[in-house]
Chain length 124, copies 4
């Protein structure tokens, strides 16, 4: 208890960010990690994730085998890891940005008008 | 203090995931959120983030104006929000997957051999 | 007839490539058109095309309105234009590469074994 | 000569489109080739092309080895092949769309104002 009060539980994203920093530093890979390169890598990993779904029907995409789910999880991890590194390099607070975006989305798509019409989806 | 001990600090990603669920439910948007569609949306948002960097030099990408940084943060938020929704739909523990991936990367790229050669980057 | 023999019909892709070169030169935009930047732009445009389909069912994607079809055509055009510029910068003969790829695909997926099993699609 | 006059040179993109149709038909793969799936595949291939460039400097991206250039050419071919199939499925005349886009770009970015400022690139 005492320990817990003195050492509050850490934020897992913060922990990952620190681990990624050390990982890159130890390998002298920071030179490759410009924001532009990390943005490229993020897009590439997102596409690798999409590749798993490209020929599936919606129904099939909801009934992945456990093996396939693990492969998708590994790609999702890559997306998160590059996203964290990009935000770290740019000084972006990712969680705060996501919370702010949710507030903006709530204003943009009020339940009353969004419900039913679902314009966002059919008129994009 | 009492309150803190009884209500441990919550995980921000867990909070966002719950908020996203309620957001979609309230608007009857779950029908659109198949894993396949969310994977498409994730790729699209990652590309929107990349768009901000596509014509910049590496140097320019490291010296974004505050306005541009806010735009990039909003795209990074979109990437995270779709990634969380995808993992929620598939029952993937994103943080656990990311931690596992970091362990695998540490094995795959030992400091001794990765340092200097940087094969990963020059021979992909 | 005489005219036709002296001025053989030109290749539309070659014509587009030449027009793109002149377009970039006239605006002094060649400095931005490194292969890396063009590869980024290509990915971004492909995602903009995908955006039109991300929330559609397969059935809806086969019954686009004429207005939506025009929007998709404009994105398809952007993809082609960046692809041509990238190949021009790298000295790649795009049509020859595509013909070669078709030959390789024919070897890789013989009709007898590919038909029915469709492994490529379900086991990627 | 006689032969040439009777059998005018065919359009290579038209030839590729016909070959792609036959290829898919022979393998009973048309069921997978919905416009939505083809748009996904196009994005995935564009990202595979980008992957070759993600860690390169601009200078390195302009000095690819012959082996790397062949790999990029194979990815460029994949992009073109999916783009042609998508346009075929949607009844889009790709070359006409590209020509139209070039006219629109010429109006959008007049030489006089585009030259020098290069706003398109620095203010996206």
């Amino acid at each position: 208890m005492q320990a817990l009060e003195n050492h509050p539980p850490t934020d897992p994203l913060q922990d990952l960010t620190m681990a990624l920093r050390q990982f890159a530093q130890a390998r002298d890979w920071e030179q490759f990690h410009t924001p532009k390169n990390l943005a490229c890598a993020l897009s590439v990993e997102a596409a690798e994730l999409l590749e798993h779904f490209q020929w599936l029907t919606d129904a099939q995409s909801q009934a992945l085998t456990s093996d396939k789910k693990n492969q998708v999880a590994a790609e999702a991890a890559d997306v998160l890891l590059y996203l964290l590194q990009l935000c770290d390099r740019l000084g972006i607070d990712l969680v705060a940005a996501a919370q702010q975006k949710m507030l903006r989305n709530a204003e943009k798509y009020p339940v009353a008008s969004a419900r039913g019409s679902a314009k966002k989806y059919t008129e994009i």
